[in-house]
Amino acid sequence: MSLRHIWAITRKEFQHIFRDRSTLFLVLVTPTALLLLMAYALTVDIQNVPIAILDYDRSSLSRAFVQQITAGEDLDLYAQVNTLSDIEELIMHGEIKAALILSPTFSKDLLALNGMPLQVIIDGTEPESGSFAVDHIAWRAEEFINGAVASQIQAMGMQVDSLQPIDLRIRTWFNPSLKPRNDLIPGLISMVLGFPALSVALTLAHEREHGTLEQLMATPIGRADLLIGKMIPYIVVGLVNVIMIPLIAMAWFHIPFNGSFPLFFGLSAIFLFSILSIGIIVGVFMPTQAAALALSFLVIFFPGFFLTGIFFPIAAMPEIMRLESLGLPGTHYAFITRGVFLPGNGLDVLWPYAVMMAGLGFAFTAVAALFFKKKLG
């Protein structure tokens, strides 16, 4: 290990990055641009889900029910239809996401406390809006029924205050309105910071493809020095994004940043080291840039998006996948970003994650250096 050698490689790499302005621009801007885009597209509040209603009863009670269901911003009455085949048609064309069918005995059964002859149909091909519609129909239907049944029971001479005697007192910590944006944006930072790792994999493959790796190996620079020297510029590129992203998240999306920024910066540097070490492994093993591209997509981006617990909790994954998730630096970093933004965790909470990332980083770098030697020696 020689600092002078590392610095020489780092300087050379910086020159590569700065020489080509369009690459420099893309490398610097891609992570932040992608995060902005995902923030806009993935974290919308669902509302105005179109539904259709088929009311066979046509009583004042059924009309009141329809009114109640569509009173809010959440569900939109797209059409009152007359036959089941209308519903089929509308769902087939994707015009509505759900439909309610009120049977001819709706008000009669309800007043006699026999039950609620209501059928709800949802479009099972729409992941989010379908379950959203079910939840909201259920809430409103329950409100309506509780009111109707309570007045009916009182009319029968019994005393009842409420049909839901249990009072659920809900408090939500760290993100009181449960806005997905507040935790998805910090979580997705771990995905977009995978880009510098790709760049480092490509530069190594690039040198091999162009035959300049031979020249580098002919210099007295050690293998590890070479790898570390290659990583440093991309860690710097990543850290520029680490500064930009929280600023945008706070100023533009009003996401609270409750933790310490220096801590976040330091832990991000550790994450960049560990994710870049995966990039280094890819670069060491792959003979061409095209191969390195394909492999980085498979080991950095796809798992970084789907398997790091940003959208689907790791606790609910099968055992083996949970283990794989722990081997991804992004899993630990996604916890750290959410922890720093929302609960404002300090090092006392986050240190195990930092240790895991650093450990993974050292292990991957060691593997890369070892095989780098073998492949060239």
């Binding site: 891609t30 919308v44 839901q164 007192r169 408090r171 939500t172 606790a315």
Partner: protein
């Protein structure tokens, strides 16, 4: 002309064979990863860690805990006996939710006009599981609440049995999560494969300096473009067939509509993506640039496939933009044919939109690439 195109196609396949890592990763690696991701995430959310602080320790409070356990949503942590433990768990993100049963819970239930309450604390740092936890807890309290009312009024225990509405989920009666997620994941993988192959087609030759050689040979630019396109389309179609049969076998994603129609439309969709990839390919000087552009464009398209958020709920501008994203129409077609069994009579607006987009992008791409090659 056909002979010369064939020669070019052969040349491309020789490249693919020499650098077999790349096609192997994109095709088989991609399909395998799709399988892994589908397996890991296409399931109901279970095992969410939940902490219980039972201050009442009565039969009624234990019934609440058992009911929560029976939902399958939760993995119960050890019972705790103070707030500090809950705070500790929440701060460290060890739990998604905590429930506190107050000491007067059973007494309130027993008294005729009692008002029992339960306190729930959700961990908002993970909003998606927190919502799932809340949904399960609300379901449990609703059921228990009904029973309390029935007992208080001395009614028949089955009084409210008929008050749950009957829910029918069309096209996905078994409520399989895989049917929701795998089409979008498959679409993402396919788009990236085709874009990547197309984007590398010219940028690679330019970077390695072989583009010059290709251009001085007696090929017209049309022949070069067709020669470059055919292998990409073949690879894309093969990839699609491979991944489709995998999700069909592994996750029981049905093919309710016409498979032939799906494959024909897939061919059309791939040509649109190919045209996009070609433009990326000629504007990128290096493969590195090409890849970054593919990632940016591919990910922005993925946002409009309905994976995490429905397009209808997006801001107006984003909805309008979705109409010119080929992947948006493609996913509607895929879901339509696979899950709804839809035919052209239903899908034609999407097919027409795709064709129109393809025409515009294709014309632009063709002129743009030709200008850059000549």
């Amino acid at each position: 002309m056909i002979r010369r195109i064939l020669a070019l196609v052969k040349k491309e396949f020789i490249h693919l064979r020499n650098d077999w890592w790349m096609p192997a990763f994109m095709l088989f690696g991609g399909a395998l990863e799709l399988l892994l991701v589908g397996w890991a995430t296409s399931r109901p959310m279970t095992n969410l860690p939940l902490m219980v602080w039972d201050q009442d320790k009565s039969a009624a409070s234990r019934a609440v805990v058992t009911a929560l356990e029976n939902t399958g949503t939760f993995a119960l942590e050890e019972q705790v006996s103070d707030m500090a433990a809950i705070e500790y768990g929440l701060d460290r993100g060890q739990i998604n939710a905590a429930i506190i049963i107050p000491p007067d819970y059973s007494a309130e239930i027993a008294s005729r006009n009692g008002e029992p309450h339960l306190a729930v604390i959700l961990n908002g740092a993970e909003s998606i599981p927190a919502k799932e936890a809340l949904r399960a807890i609300e379901g449990v309290t609703r059921d228990i609440g009904e029973q309390i009312v029935i007992e208080r009024l001395g009614m028949d225990p089955n009084t409210f049995a008929g008050f749950d509405f009957s829910l029918r989920v069309w096209f996905n009666e078994a409520l399989s999560e895989a049917l929701y997620t795998t089409p979008a994941e498959l679409g993402l993988m396919l788009e990236f494969t085709v874009l990547l192959f197309a984007a590398l087609s010219f940028s690679r030759e330019r970077e390695l300096g072989t583009l010059e050689q290709l251009l001085v040979m007696p090929f017209s630019s049309l022949e070069i473009m067709i020669g470059k396109s055919i292998p990409v389309i073949l690879v894309g179609l093969f990839d699609f067939a491979l991944m489709l049969s995998m999700v069909h076998l592994a996750f029981k994603v049905p093919v309710r509509g016409s498979l032939a129609l799906l494959m024909i439309l897939a061919l059309g969709y791939l040509m649109v993506e190919l045209a996009k990839g070609m433009v990326i390919s000629v504007i990128s000087r290096t493969q590195h640039q090409a890849f970054l552009l593919v990632m940016l464009i591919g990910m922005s398209d993925f946002m409009f496939t309905g994976y995490a958020a429905p397009v209808e709920a997006m801001p107006r501008a984003a909805q309008l933009f979705a109409n010119i994203v080929p992947a948006h129409h493609w996913l509607s077609i895929v879901r339509g044919i696979l899950l709804k069994g839809a035919g052209m009579d239903v899908l034609w607006p999407h097919v027409a939109a795709l064709a129109a987009i393809g025409l515009v992008i294709g014309t632009f791409s063709w002129r743009f690439v030709r200008r850059n090659l000549d």
